[in-house]
Symmetry: C2
Subunit: 391 residues, 2 copies
């Protein structure tokens, strides 16, 4: 079969972006490389897998919404964070990635205007692009989204939704201040723009209690809140959740059914046990935060030691990443090969912008899975590399 | 917020069909009702859930394609059935429902012409409709799809794909003969139409070895084969698979990533153990087939006893359903309320046709979850109901 004999694909397929990131990640997984490129949580700290005591009835097909006990436990946690959401408006998803995909299904036709942060979570960029959204980016700073840019963009064309990672964003680690959260919520209320708040890292807050959801400050604008167990428990279960405004939850429930009927029930049961053991959960989260805080501090020290003259950054107060702007160079993607030759890897910032956005001098560094010793050595190698290529 | 303040939804949402089936199923689940309406496999025969021995490394994020061992085991099973498919072209899905959704993503734009059987698997109808396909149906008979109708429909407008359940179809229980499979494959080759072969019931073959996949007979047309563990193992795991032509597999792999990153790994590991224990698997499948064969025979006897004068059917050689055409009446949906008042339930045939197809005198009866005694009593009540309403 020649190329001309290939089947007729949907227009969506012509928008599939090349898997730059997967190619990069494959490169960075060679043995011996000190890799700051991946974003995986630390496996050693994950709780054990076990299904001891699972009811046999959980072998049967389940409901599209998810297990009632898990939805109730999540509703209680959201309420405690200030986001009033009854269990009936909590939908269990197959990871929060499925929530992102369902948001696209519910809101995006070809050409639908949507807003994301600049830079943005890569997989959201890819999915919204696949569905044909007209994406615009709004700059984010260490204290949150740039309100002036947001107002200007919305004045030019009203977007259907704004998708954000307001707490310890991937890739920047930036987290919106409480004042910015309130200001943003008031603006969204005024404009009646849907908020899509994706919050996988909120629990990984190292210096203060986790911030209140932006959704909690909304008075009238519709909202969708995406949550995950992947960064605090076991990503392999692929259990996440979508909490939504009562006006939106029923639509997502109907969309979920055709997508995969329901999320796996053993995983939901496991996550429910994980949440129900309150003392165990608190101790586990403390251990996680202690470990990551130490890693964060070690990376900050290494950056201060080895890269202060070539780059700038804002140390994150949570999450897994440093976003480092290497002012000494123009294009960090062009230097990745040489970094790999020196047995150190990062993710070029370019990956977190829509395709065609041009070169970028930032890098994302993950401090999750690298030993303390390697961490310092890796940052030293990067500092030397950027210094040698100083423009 | 008034209706006019509701957010802008995608056009997809306007195509969400009413959840007729869910409403019906809710009705039929009242206590005391003898229900032939559901399609759930028998829970008592499902193997136990256990994760004893699962490697701790399976807590981490996994690959989009799925676990290599499971993909190899599935490839070996497909090869044994005559469908040559290397493990690299087997993609693990979150249930075969996700395969149906991904097929829509890959092929369907608004107005894309696609073919299904008439009647068709309900959830496929809903998903392809949601994506905006222009769906046409081709009649199926107890020995398979009507080739004359298929030729006529394809002559009028070439479809992008043909979606079929050729083995013990849901809802009819019909299974294509080997001759029909070959004839269909030759026609698809000639027309270069993509075959989407959905085969959740193939292993539940009660009177003969399971039929060879239609895909195995193709020489040049592209194909996608959807498989499931839900009817032979544990549906709650939501583990299925999509095997595809080497020209299509890479496209599905890219689509899967944005959909939910990957399928849950504990479930994949469990399914791999389930397949690897060959003696245990063979004994388990024998038990399943013995049980369902007995149920099938009991329903056939009950139909012969109580409904021979009002209806006709073709006893299925596998799967979970009888498709009963009640020639005594015109509209089985209109009679459902009265059936429920008599404490017996069925699914009206109308549910398995596109919305707006008009009334239907068929019913789908599942013999999976009803005790022998109730089975005879329920069919007797239905016979009496239809006899009283004979037109």
């Amino acid at each position: 079969m020649t190329q001309s004999d290939l089947p007729h694909f949907s227009r969506r397929i012509s928008r599939l972006t090349s898997s730059l990131i997967r190619e990069l990640l494959a490169l960075t997984q060679q043995p011996g490389i000190i890799s700051f490129a991946g974003g995986l949580p630390a496996e050693a700290l994950m709780p054990p897998l076990s299904l001891e005591g699972v009811p046999p009835a959980l072998r049967q097909y389940g409901t599209t919404d998810g297990e009632p006990g898990l939805r109730e436990a999540l509703s209680a946690r959201l309420n405690a964070q200030g986001l009033a959401c009854p269990a009936e408006n909590v939908l269990i998803t197959s990871g929060s990635q499925q929530g992102i995909d369902m948001v696209a299904k519910v809101f995006i036709d070809e050409g639908t205007p949507v807003l994301l942060e600049k830079p943005a979570y890569l997989a959201a960029l890819q999915v919204y692009g696949l569905y044909g959204a007209a994406m615009q980016g709004v700059a984010v700073h260490p204290d949150g989204i740039d309100m002036d840019s947001l107002r200007a963009v919305c004045a030019a064309q009203r977007p259907v939704f704004l998708y954000i990672n307001p707490s310890f964003q991937n890739p920047t680690g930036y987290s919106y201040s409480d004042a910015r959260r309130r200001e943003l919520a008031a603006f969204l209320d005024e404009q009646n723009i849907v908020l899509i708040e994706d919050n996988p890292y909120g629990e990984l807050s190292y210096d203060a209690p986790q911030p209140a959801p932006v959704s909690a400050y909304l008075k009238s604008a519709p909202w969708v809140y995406l949550g995950s167990f992947s960064k605090i428990a076991v990503p392999a279960w692929r259990v996440g959740y979508l909490a939504a405004d009562p006006r939106l939850a029923p639509v997502f429930r109907k969309i979920k059914q055709g997508t995969d009927l329901h999320t796996n029930r053993p995983g939901q049961w496991w996550c429910e046990q994980f949440l129900r053991d309150e003392a165990g959960l608190a101790a586990h989260l403390d251990r996680l935060r202690d470990y990551y805080r130490g890693q964060r501090d070690a990376m900050e020290a290494a950056l201060n030691e080895h890269m202060a003259d070539v780059a700038e950054w804002s140390a994150p107060q949570g999450g897994l990443f440093f976003w480092v702007r290497v002012h000494a160079v123009e294009d960090t993607r062009a230097l990745l090969d040489e970094a790999l030759a020196r047995q150190v890897a990062y993710l070029p910032g370019e990956a977190f912008y829509p395709p065609g956005s041009g070169v970028c001098n930032a890098i994302r560094l993950s401090f999750s899975g690298v030993s303390r010793e390697s961490l310092n050595e890796g940052v030293a190698r990067l500092g030397a590399l950027f210094r040698e290529h100083r423009r």
